[in-house]
Amino acid sequence: MTATSIMDPNPTVVKPTDLIKTAIGYIMDNRYRNLPVVADDGTYLGSFGVSCLLKNVLPKAVLMKHGLTSVPFVQETLADLHNRLHELEHHTVDMCMNTEARTVSPDTPLVETLLILYNNRDSLPVVDPDSGKLVGVISYWDAGEKILSA
């Protein structure tokens, strides 16, 4: 058995030119952790998710290399964070896309796929190694559902 056994073959996707506001809508409505970003021809480009949103809500100084590792003195309100996020909403998804997200191929063995999912701590795009096209996504829920119903 392989990765295709536990993947969702019709995942919600976004395009790199979609607005972040649109992506946020999908994420919040469906409680996704991340969404695959694909080109018009279905080629997988990267991943956009809650970590990107969190990253942009936090001050830049905490996220950069050699930046601040803790900021207990910062006293911002939810309104402040909302405003920061609001500034982001009209940018496009490619502004904050993770192009180095871990992926698996459709014929990655099942247990290996589960190990990668465990280590990745995030949904796994399933990408065809020859065409580079997205064929599905594996989330914790997909894996759990398939295992429990087997």
């Binding site: 001050p59 830049k60 100084a61 950069m64 290399k65 050699h66 207990p72 003195f73 911002e76």
Partner: protein, 445 residues
Amino acid sequence: MHEAHQASVIFGLDPVWYAGVLFVLTYTLIVAERLNRAIVAVSAASLMVVGGVLTQEAAVQGIDFNTIGLLTGMMVIVGITRKSGVFQFVAIWSTKKVNAEPWGILVMLVLVTAVLSALLDNVTTVLLIAPVTLLITDELKVNAYPYLFAEIFASNIGGTATLIGDPPNIMIGSAVGLNFNDFILNLAPIAVVILLLFLVPLYFFWGRSLETSVERQQKVMNYREADAITDHRLLWQSLFVITIVIAGFIMSHTIGAEPATIALFGAALLLVLDNLPRNIDEQSENVHGSFCEVEWVTIFFFMGLFIVVYGVETVGILEMLAEHVINLTGGDRNVTAMTILWVSAVASAIVDNIPFVATMIPLIESMAADFGGAEQLMPLWWSLALGSCLGGNGSLIGASANLIVAGFAERSGQPIRFLPFMLMAFPLMLVSILISTVYIYWRYF
């Protein structure tokens, strides 16, 4: 002065040529930055020994372990202290003291950076201050460039003021037997003057136009600096140890201890205090982390460099160079001092000041006989210190701290470009050297 060593170089090569070529190659590779400078220095040092210019015993003798010990000890102390959050506390506290007013913040961060640079090494200082600066400027929605530019200058000027503020001072102090008080009495006054005068162009270039809204100022005023202290026990332990170490530096003559001893004693004491409450497994991990804070690349770079310079000194190259310099300056001590000041400044703006100073020290020592003894060399030493430290302001590559700040600026989306920086910084650096010229002339001639 080191005794001449009868070198027997491999393949019967002339030791002067071998050491000289190796020296030039070492410098070239360090400047070119194609290979990590520690690799260059250690490799060249090895070749000095393998090639027969130095014996292993002589090579070890050439390493200034006082400088190495002082650097290592202070790196351990700072590495442990920073975990307490005290540096963020100081930056936030000083920002709030001026009601988060943009120009006021600029002045306060310049002063904080300068004082910290005087007591810690410049690279550590900017690693601590730059992120907080970016946090504040981001919050205030003001341009970070003036603040980062100012902090580069403040770190180099502050580092000039004390024995421990900048590696050139550590090297000079160690070689000449100058203590903490000597640097405070001779360099701190002019460093303070230069720092205060530096605020004038800062105000005219940027200070007048820095502004933000009251709401954004209030956001920064809402920061709770006390919460920046994440480990109160460690804070008090660190402050206690730092106080003892500074007191030790001030009284080093009285207690008969060299700076390395004082710094390493402080490091050992802080390690004990930080680890005593922990179980042995925690201690192992914690101590490992503390020693990882030491910049071993820098330490090995120094060690290799000391050996290389000792090699060229041993074969007499530096003595020859010293004679040339004295001939060029007509054997006039004051002219020689001024030449060293200006040449050091320009050289330090272009190349790494550490190899430059490492070479200049034995060269200047060789001049003692020509100028009537070691005591007559003092203006030259202070000129070397001022030139090599302040010269670092001349360009982005003038000092490691400059590049660190440039890295932060790049990552924050407000890059500091080499040429625009130099167009402003180099003239300002020359002005500081002009002020130093007047000071040296007035004080020592």
